[in-house]
Amino acid sequence: MIPSGFEYHRPNSVQEAVALLAQLGEEARPLAGGHSLIPVMKTRLSAPEHLIDLAGVSGLKGIRQEPGHIVIGAMTTQYEISGSPLLAETLPILRETSLQIGDPQIRYLGTLGGNVANGDPGNDMPAVMMCLDAEYQLVGQSGQRGVRARDFYLGAYDTARQNGEILTEIRIPVPPRGHGYAYEKLKRKVGDYAVAAAAVILTMTNGKCTMASIGLTNVADTPLWAEAAAQALIGTGLDHAAIANAAAAAETITDPAADGRGPAEYRTKMAGMMVRRAIARAKSRAQN
């Protein structure tokens, strides 16, 4: 519970932060809300020599609307996401998800950027971002690039972010007005990672599902985009059989670890169960 020594840096701009990262190399880690990094430092599972605190970097906070997109700054906190009227109207699944992360104290500090960038499969927002087909903006010394959330996660704590890059903002295509959505999370207690969780968005037209997307949390080394599961819903009335097919398809792509949350078999089945429940709830919310 006592971290190793480290140098603390507090740059004022993205350029400055990126320059520090380049200069300090692999022993430097960007620090956002700190709710993943600080605990692993306290247990000495991680001992970075330099922390580059992004809290003072201007322009990394805020939620704005662009044509067809919502853009969220990486340092926007979970609390700010859950309280945003703009997100409540355009991307209500974000509010539903953020309210299931940690507890109020954690949500005051924990950021969206930190949640999606560090590659912890237990984090909730990555699967939601895959579900929504969000794009992450990464800035390094050589410039800026966008990476789709669906391409970002390579393994546990292993992402497409290069050393020297900082994730600055998240661009999310706004789903059609009247879409149904749900984030169903099974957890042991408040503040825990999911046993399994499922993010679903879908649209219904004349009683048929015309669009669907499903993301899964904490049932593999990475968050999962359950493409086939969503495909099983298209064109159906989201009847019992269609939902069962989607759940079964979702279960097949899981590869969870056995841990205190339960054996792998259970967590796979719970992924399916969360998919079922999320679809049912999303359906009940969708305008037809």
Partner: protein, 806 residues
């Protein structure tokens, strides 16, 4: 007399004495962050200690190289067993008559065992230095499963005592065997079982868990080499016992050892024992001559200092076809880990497990307990219960449910049929206890009426039918438990700690202006002693509770006591408090008579004063008497107004209660939701109903935690799993059910104010109630006994095994 004269009720109310819902006086500082805990203590020149701990659960230590750590700037010392050996401190005695390693000598016996103690200028350097100590291990085969511990080919764990086949509690059958303890009539019990119409037999495993107080174990040791005096501030539930132990171990005379327990952030049994951290901090301070602080972190607390339970109880009942219980037989395999460090009274190797006949009139019984060593942390403390009482009550209350199911009888009816009857008290149980008082039928009926028991069973029947028809995926469980605790240890004829009888004490001193300072031998860890002891004194002496300061924990000022655990503070120190107050009142009576110029037989006590019999307007208040005690006494009387009492209780007290739990279980996820929990407690006279309710809320919350998921587990290789709050289930307000409390009052006949103690009852009664609710939900599907803890995934597996996911 005029209209302004306060009425008797007003005078009583002003005292805020017995029965008053008085707000806790200590909360003023706690809620403002002004508590004074061990880690708040900062002394000039203070150093910090940290442990090098074993990565192996069982290994020989080939070598320890401390040179790199010692070379780190800021490191002052690194202690190993080699340093402690010349002082004979590499092992320390345990309360259970065993010895425990302070620092591992030759080999380690559990993961995270203490190997070396680093002392440095600050906490960070100490932590850095622990990583620089190089330990070379030779791994040895591991014993994790207690059922394998006594196998003929099991690896010998305790080489230090392998030839000592006569243990503290009799002969040992195997090098990994600690004791065999038997109570009751074996032949008579066996004979009943041989011919009984109905018998049950189940293995009830009460899993290993941990008291997990929010404040971990910690201390500051400060040796004053000029005065030759040692002061130790620490998280001690029993500070005087610590002082005696420290004196014996260190050789420093007891009057030169000052032990101080400041505010404590929860104990629950975790802070009764002596831990290597205390010993090492003391040794380091003696060696270095400066204060040394040691503060455990969360993982150290959960994985090294005193676990609870780990009892494997094969429980049998014999009964007639119509449900009269005839006999009980239990064999317990007790996993004590690497050392026998149970915190029980010396002569009770399995605590008061022989309370296992519960609230029932069972004519004959036999209990046998075998303790074994395994490669796990040592302990076996009473986590929010009297010694092994939760284990005992869990065993009987599960067995009752199993028997009722087998008989096709409602379990409440079975309990009612077998309860000890009110007229049987004092009741002598088959396993040797004398229950002081009880009225079980009345308590159970009141609880049944409160929850609407028949309607609940009807609802359950409807639900089961709907479930079978596929209309719902939710099962309904109704949990019942009825418990009898045994607390207030205890009479010195059969209870001692390291030879010191388990009395307790109170000293009360009334100042000339009529305010009071009182000191006890107990130590609150959150129980609210400063509030409740003052209420006892207020009623006994007629001084408002607000004018009474209660102090505990400083062994220089408080009278010797055995500390706070096993719900003993109210039964023992609370009794001492009342008795000391009565000594003062007897003297006050003589002073009052002197002031009123009448015979002491002509005055009588009236709330806050002595008045002349028949002349209520002629009186002297206690406040007036206090002043007179310092300037106007009867001729020849010693001045002052104070008293001390050391109370050796004539018996234990036996609180009891009836609990009901209503639970919905989602068979598709295994998630259980407690819809309702009702707890009726009878703790005798109620000193402060609000504190009682708070105690019940806390105890039930810990019961909920333990029953529904709180555990310390080890993998097959002996690695301790889940020793952090990520995995160790500490429920928050969100998970915790809403608690309904209720009560009956059956005073203890032998306690001066009739109080019995309550802090642990809700835990003792709560755990089986939750477990019974889970088991009850599945019972109609013939699931058999479902073991704790009832995690969602485990319940899902039960449902899966029953084919409910097909």
């Amino acid at each position: 007399m005029n209209d302004m004269t306060p009425t008797q009720a007003e005078r009583t109310g002003k005292l805020e004495g017995l029965g008053c819902r008085r707000k806790r006086t200590e909360d003023i500082r706690f809620t403002q962050g002004r508590g004074n805990y061990v880690d708040d203590l900062k002394l000039p020149g203070m150093l910090f200690g940290d442990f090098v701990r074993s990565s192996h659960p069982h290994a020989r230590i080939k070598s320890i190289d401390t040179s790199k750590a010692l070379a780190l700037p800021g490191v002052k010392a690194v202690l190993t067993a080699a340093d402690l050996k010349p002082l004979k401190l590499h092992y320390m005695p345990t309360l259970a008559g065993d010895v425990a390693a302070v620092l591992a000598d030759d080999k380690v016996l559990f993961q995270n065992q203490e190997i070396a103690f680093v002392v440095a200028e600050d906490r960070y350097i100490a932590a850095d230095a622990t990583e620089l100590v190089e330990v070379e291990y030779e791994a040895l085969p591991v014993v994790v499963d207690p059922f394998q511990a006594m196998a003929p080919d099991a690896p010998v764990l305790r080489e230090d005592i392998k030839d000592k086949m006569d243990g503290a509690h009799g002969p040992r059958k195997h090098p990994n065997h600690i004791f065999n303890w038997q109570v009751g009539d074996k032949q008579g019990t066996d004979a009943v079982f041989d011919t009984a119409e109905v018998t049950t037999k189940d293995l009830f495993v009460y899993h290993r868990t941990h008291p997990s107080p929010l404040e971990t174990c910690q201390c500051v040791a400060s040796m004053d080499k000029i005065k030759g005096e040692l002061t130790v501030w620490g998280t001690f539930q029993a500070p005087h016992v610590i002082r005696t132990v420290v004196s014996i171990l260190s050789g420093i005379a007891e009057h030169k050892v000052h032990v101080i327990a400041p505010d404590i952030g929860g104990g629950f049994g975790n802070k009764v024992g002596v831990y290597p951290g205390y010993v090492c901090a003391i040794v380091a301070s003696i060696v270095l001559g400066v204060p040394v602080k040691w503060v455990e972190d969360r993982m150290e607390n959960l994985s090294t200092t005193s676990f609870a339970r780990d009892y494997h109880m094969t429980t049998e009942l014999a009964a007639t076809k119509d449900g009269k219980i005839l006999a009980m037989r239990i064999h317990v395999l007790a996993d004590h880990g690497a050392f026998d460090a149970c915190a029980d009274p010396s002569r009770w190797p399995a605590g008061f497990m022989n309370i296992c006949t519960g609230s029932y009139d069972i004519p004959v019984a036999h209990l046998e307990v075998d303790g074994v060593y395994t490669n796990k942390a040592s302990g076996g403390v009473a986590y929010r219960c009297s010694f092994r009482v939760t284990e005992a009550v869990y065993s009987i209350e599960r067995a009752i449910e199993v028997l009722a199911h087998k008989l096709g009888m409602d379990s409440v009816d079975l309990r009612m049929k077998n309860f000890i009857k009110a007229e049987q008290f004092p009741y002598h149980s088959a396993l040797g206890w004398e229950y002081d008082s009880g009225n079980y039928h009345v308590a159970m009926q009141k609880a049944m009426d409160a929850v609407g028991y028949p309607a609940l069973r009807a609802e359950q029947k409807t639900r089961q039918e709907a479930f079978r028809r596929g209309e719902t995926r939710q099962l309904l469980g109704i949990g019942v438990s009825f418990f009898t605790e045994i607390v207030g240890a205890g009479p010195s004829r059969n209870c001692d700690i390291l030879g010191v009888g388990m009395f307790d004490s109170a000293e009360i001193r009334i100042h000339p202006t009529g305010s009071i300072v009182a000191r006890m031998g107990t130590k609150s860890q959150g129980q609210g002693h400063e509030t409740t002891y003052a209420q006892i004194i207020a009623t006994e002496l007629g001084i408002p509770a607000d004018d009474i300061t209660v102090e505990e924990g400083n062994t220089d000022t408080a009278p010797y006591g055995l500390g706070t655990y096993g719900s003993r503070s109210t039964p023992v120190a609370g009794a001492a408090t009342a008795m000391a107050a009565r000594k003062i009142r007897a003297k006050a009576q003589m002073i009052a008579a002197h002031l009123l110029e009448v015979s002491e037989y002509d005055v009588e006590w009236d709330i806050d004063r002595f008045k002349v019999k028949g002349l209520p307007e002629k009186f002297k208040t206690m406040k007036e008497i206090a002043w007179a005690a310092y300037n106007n006494l009867p001729p020849g009387m010693e001045p002052g107004l104070e008293a001390v009492n050391y109370y050796d209780p004539p018996n234990m007290t036996y609180p009891f209660g009836a609990y009901f739990c209503v639970m919905d279980i989602d068979v598709d996820t295994g998630v259980a939701k407690t819809r309702r929990f009702y707890a009726l407690d009878d703790c005798g006279t109620r000193i402060n109903p609000m504190i009682i309710e708070g105690q019940v809320h806390g105890g039930l919350t810990e019961a909920f935690a333990v029953a529904m998921g709180q555990e310390i587990t080890y993998d097959a290789q002996g690695n301790v799993m889940g020793a952090s709050f990520m995995d160790f289930f500490l429920p928050t307000a969100v998970e915790t059910p809403k608690w309904e409390t209720d009560f009956t009052v059956t005073p203890s006949p032998h306690h001066p104010i009739g109080a019995k103690g309550v802090g642990e009852s809700p835990h003792v009664g709560g755990v089986p109630c939750f477990s019974n609710a889970v088991n009850d939900a599945f019972a109609f599907l013939e699931a058999g006994h479902i073991p704790m803890p009832h995690h969602a995934w485990r319940l899902w597996k039960v449902a899966d095994g029953l084919g409910l996911h097909a």
